[in-house]
Assembly symmetry: C2
Homo-oligomer: 356 residues x 2
Amino acid sequence: MSGVLVSAGELEQFVIEVLTGAGVPGDDAATTARLLVAADARGVSTHGVIRLIPYHQRLVGGVVRPDPTLATIADSGGFVLLDGDDGLGQVSGTRAAALASDRARQQGIAAVGVRNSHHIGMLGLYVEQIARAGQIGVVMSNTAPLMAPTGSAERILGNNPLAIGVPRAAGGDPVVVDLALSPTSFGKVQEYARRGEPLPPGQVIDVDGNWITDAQVATKTGTMVPIAGHKGYGLALAVELLAGALTGSGTLDRVSSLFREPMLPMAAGHLTIVIDPDAATGDAAAFLAAVERVCEVILAAQPLPNVDGILLPGMPEQRSRERAEAVGILLAENVVAELTRFAETAGVALPSMEPA
Amino acid sequence: MSGVLVSAGELEQFVIEVLTGAGVPGDDAATTARLLVAADARGVSTHGVIRLIPYHQRLVGGVVRPDPTLATIADSGGFVLLDGDDGLGQVSGTRAAALASDRARQQGIAAVGVRNSHHIGMLGLYVEQIARAGQIGVVMSNTAPLMAPTGSAERILGNNPLAIGVPRAAGGDPVVVDLALSPTSFGKVQEYARRGEPLPPGQVIDVDGNWITDAQVATKTGTMVPIAGHKGYGLALAVELLAGALTGSGTLDRVSSLFREPMLPMAAGHLTIVIDPDAATGDAAAFLAAVERVCEVILAAQPLPNVDGILLPGMPEQRSRERAEAVGILLAENVVAELTRFAETAGVALPSMEPA
């Protein structure tokens, strides 16, 4: 991929300057910057620094509150419900993970729900951090409608991402499962349209339920299907009910789109569940040994012809992170172009970049 | 479907007689009978009374313990770990659901893991019962290897089912999402083989990763793929680590097959998580109202041409249950033939049946 390389620290500093300039307190800006840059480091640019642009638009438009008060709505010991107060999702998401982690250490399992939140970014980062601390993390969020329930072509359900992180022994990179319940992201459909390439079937349908292969048409009038038919529909609905209805957040059409509806509060909800293997089983070492055996058996599986080797979920992102730590964060040319325009408008200098 | 109708009560009585004859205490036999017949009532015959045959084989073979002691391995308040002692999965699964439900009422969320368990049957029944009591239930189990991790054709991972139940207001049938992480069940592939029909592509691969459409070959040498490629692989691995590794149960090849390995302890694990909406949020009524709105919006979605109407997960099974309550349990002819042979061997009389 052609693009530029930039220092992670300098890129974080850029994000912090933009956010603090919009009234976000320094600690919250640093948390958000760390998560956005960490997504770019893992090669997940759709959840990287490029997202600063709609966040900033919403902050200056008064739709995202720069300095939210995260009130506790309910606390039953194992389950805490917070109000995100329309602040940045990274702030409430990080608070939720830390709180669930603490409570799980006491009683084996705990959960924190957040209502009235915003785009939470790359879910895998939260569960990766939980898993690096030796715990199992599950995070889910509902999103603006993109998908149809099975049997319909109406955009009714979000593609409602879900991530699960499991620790590895001896500081190994965690297993991180991180997926949206659509076959691909809306951002990737937009990429096909931008490049003028046809969209593969199996992703977006028209009003009659036929596959749309014209990516331009797909972004405008198409509806995504859930993964695996009614199975993905069921999982997406479950996330809607757990992250949205249970937390008292918006659901379905009451969750607004980061891109299409910049002037509406997002009203998304998150649910974070943490299991502490030591508290839960009394023997974290035995658990970690069992995880290692599973991972070793899978990694030793015979690859198909033309497959280099078997990967565990999260490995591609960790390899990308290692490269980024060695040489810097890789940003694609279109990302740099967008950030350059944005930086000028925001009046904040972009960090120095060198060709990749 | 041609078949016979039988009274649910009489069919349960038949199961109870068989199980108590093999040394299972009356209460545990009744629990197991209720769950097997409830699966048949919901039209899920692959998890119905037909499963009594391998259960009985394993009980008389000394592989399943008829009278297990469910010892508590760890109890941290929110998380309880039980040893299933190689007893029937229905017994430990029912105990786990009741215990998680009680604990969740106190602290919002709770989980019970079971190690050394057996086939747990239709997962949706456990979460349906939890949801009928007003709580959110999640149950998962690992199974004997059937599927390949992405990039391989080796049978390494189970298809590791997962169920989520969410209560509806005013005693409505719960939303029940119940799915295995393979596109279809191994039992359905066997059905194709039995009927001499070709297997649709997208389900079972050969050693080179090509789709097998000969169902006979598929059952013998094929390997199932996970749903949705690496997404299903990730979810199946997560269930393996949560239901298997976390509970200290068998994982991967150390979980034996109900059918192919009748003389090995199954060593499967389960994890049951319950969230109590009232304790978690302090406002169960608001949660139920939010669930209702989501369900209403989805049910009102415009159906595609040739689609009768949009369904919520669990609705087909509840319609089947209503029919069964009106006219009796429908058993297919091949199920009746197998049960008839089995009943003669076991020396227990089958209930009276009438043509459907």
